[in-house]
Amino acid sequence: MLIKVQSAANRGLETIGVDVEVNVANRGLPAFDIVGLPDKEVQESRERVKTAILSSRIEFPQKKITVNLAPADVPKEGSAYDLPIAVGILAALTNCPIPEKSLFFGELSLSGDLRHTKGALLLALFAKEKGYKNVFVPKDSANEAAIVRGVNVYPVENLRQLLAHFAERQCILPLIYQPVKETLSDDLIEFDMKDVLGQEQAKRAMEIAAAGGHNILLVGNPGAGKTMLARALPGILPSLNEAESLEATKIHSVAGVIPPGGALLVARQFRSPHHTASQVGLIGGGSRPRPGEISLAHRGVLFLDEFNEFPRSVLEALRQPLEDGFVTISRSQERVLYPARFMLVASANPCPCGYLNHPKKACVCSVQQIKKYQKRISGPLLDRIDLHVDVPPVDVKELAENQKASEFLEPSKLIKERVMFARKIQQARFAEDLIHTNAEMKNSHIKKYCPLSKEVEQILQQAAMKFQLSARVYLKMIKVARTIADLADSPGIEVQHMAEALQYRSKSYSEG
């Protein structure tokens, strides 16, 4: 008896339909085979399915069972085929009908319960696109799938419950999406800008970076507050809009980092991989391409603390995604594209010991060591970072008592409003272009949207001579000045905007 159950496979962010064909033959020696390029996880599915069916107090047939996963030439991976295989076998045994236009997806535990399975959101999206009515997923993954409206998402707890539903003895009700207050990110404003004492310029630079989507490099002595500033950044970024949120959630779903019962991501992601991260971990990849940290940080913040300590090969691999906003991972078997449009926040010490230019502690590094340390980051990579800021050490005790310093403390909420305002201006400006922020401007956009008055051009040229700015830095300064002008609601770039932008030029942080 041949039964066909529909399921789907995720390849990167694409989903393709997979037919799970189950044949329970009356002739032949008892056996249980899976064909159709199953990998190890899918092969092992046999044991899980067999035991789960037995645990559900149903006798497993001593017959020749053949499972085919079609199309047969696409490699199948993951544990999500457990449910469709089990359903196929049960349908063949019990003769109960499988609801039409339904997709099955989920991993079985030996007890017959269903476990949280990654990628449920993409399945639901696929179902909607292809016109399937019902989706059966594990209960823990159901909320994630229910984000997609127009498809019935059935949260399945265990096999017995599913059988009862088929027999119409006890119906499972489709789940209605419930937004979880915070998915993945612990708290919306975990670090408030007003908690960062001093660092007025660095905070201003963060505001500009947030407003224009610029990448930013923070250089300072240990303990100056670089990490705190970076962590406060998501709090001043505008919240994800619906499309962005779905994009980010899709990547997280595929990567399997959405917790059981998880929902749409609302807060911008803040990813801070350790500097021992491998290239594959950061960029994505593997024999079966997985999204890396840069994709998990999509539409959010990628914070690379101790920037100079990352292996050079890893950092250089960042260049292409920084430019394009996505990364293509090519393997002989498949080619996968993961979006990776993130804001890079890098932080570094000025020298190996960390105390160069420190007011109290003496630096013990030689000039050569410092040069070597700073050379670890290549020019092309630094060129992709628009804002370079010094984060000098602060005397926390003194600042806490300083009246004037406390006047400058602004809560993140207030800064966020200004950022949103500047983003709105950019939205209107780039309505006809494919970009959203000033940071994404290419040369043609700069020409079109950033005409410089003679006065401003003069200042910039003067600065280029005085500070020896390269042509690329020149363009960066214009972009940053554009964002500063947006923050000030100025239609043109004025002298004061350009002058401020010059503050954030890249400086070699040691003389010698």
Partner: protein, 302 residues
């Protein structure tokens, strides 16, 4: 071609000969010896007007300012600056001397054919191009080792009428040079620094032991003048610099603050009660006008 000068040679520096058994038997050199040392007195008075300028390898911005201020004037007055070619104060002293058209001698801790530290080869070439000398007591490509550095210092001190120490930590090699200078009965000048700085500890020690603190190039030039020497080609080191004149009252306020103490932008904006964004604009403009300059993360008056 090996260039060697023997202790018996009449062109052997007299001051160096005076240090007795410490004097090297022979010196290898690069450059033109008679440009600085010639028995007849020569353009640079037979090497009688050398000043050793040494200091910390970890030069601070303050140290750099001091070198620029004092050494430029001293070198412009025709005094030959002798130092050890090490990075930090040494290299800065060589550079400053060359900038004002002065003469300089670099004493190497390694064989005469080596450049150490290697990455300063530009400076090396510049010294030779400008009638300077490179001296070493070691032949060929002898590698520098731990004990050649203090050995080298005795030549630096021995060649010079006086030694000027700028920035020295507690265990700085510059203190060894100062010790040699004292031993050879040479004058020791020091530039005081803030007592909170690690780089002042050695200096303070020298002051306590009786070194003379200097606050301007005049203090040193006076000492050399009493010896009856005055160079004809004095350059005004302040000459070519353009110092913009502060315009607004705000600029004057900022300059007043910076004259007292070098500050970072956060501190200035806090003191004047202006947001960092506005202050950034003003400071950039002042920098472009040449009123102030930025080094490390602090601003200085030009």
């Amino acid at each position: 071609m090996e260039k060697i000068i023997n202790i018996q040679d009449k062109n052997y520096p007299k001051l160096l000969k005076e240090i007795g058994k410490d004097a090297p038997k022979q010196l290898y050199y690069k450059g033109n010896w008679s440009d600085i040392f010639s028995a007849q007195g020569g353009p640079a008075s037979g090497g009688k007007n050398c000043l050793a300028v040494v200091g910390s390898r970890h030069m601070t911005t303050y140290g750099k300012q001091v070198v620029e201020k004092i050494v430029s004037e001293v070198a412009a007055a025709g005094i030959t600056i002798v130092s050890g070619f090490m990075y930090g104060v040494d290299a800065e002293a060589h550079k400053t001397a060359l900038q004002v058209g002065g003469r300089t001698i670099a004493v190497m801790p390694c064989g005469i054919d080596l450049i150490h530290p290697e990455y300063q080869q530009d400076l090396y070439a510049e010294i030779l191009d400008n009638k300077g000398l490179i001296i070493s007591e070691y032949e060929g490509s002898t590698q520098p080792v731990l004990w050649t550095y203090p050995r080298r210092n005795r030549i630096v001190a021995g060649l010079s009428k006086a030694a000027l120490i700028i920035e020295a930590g507690e265990k700085s090699g510059s203190l060894i040079t100062a010790e040699f200078a004292k031993k050879y009965k040479r004058k020791v000048f020091v530039v005081p620094g803030p007592i909170t700085s690690e780089n002042s500890k050695g200096i303070m020690q020298l002051i306590k032991e009786g070194a003379e603190a200097v606050s301007s190039a005049q203090d040193i030039l006076k000492y050399y003048n009493t010896l009856g020497f005055r160079s004809s080609f004095a350059l005004d080191p302040k000459g070519p610099r353009d110092s913009g004149i502060p315009e607004s009252s705000l600029e004057i306020k900022i300059i007043n603050q910076l004259q007292r103490e070098a500050l970072g932008i956060d501190m200035i904006s806090r003191n004047l009660g202006l947001p960092a964004a506005k202050m950034g604009t003003i400071l950039s403009m002042m920098q472009l006008k040449g009123q102030i300059k930025q080094e490390g993360n602090k601003y200085y008056v030009n």
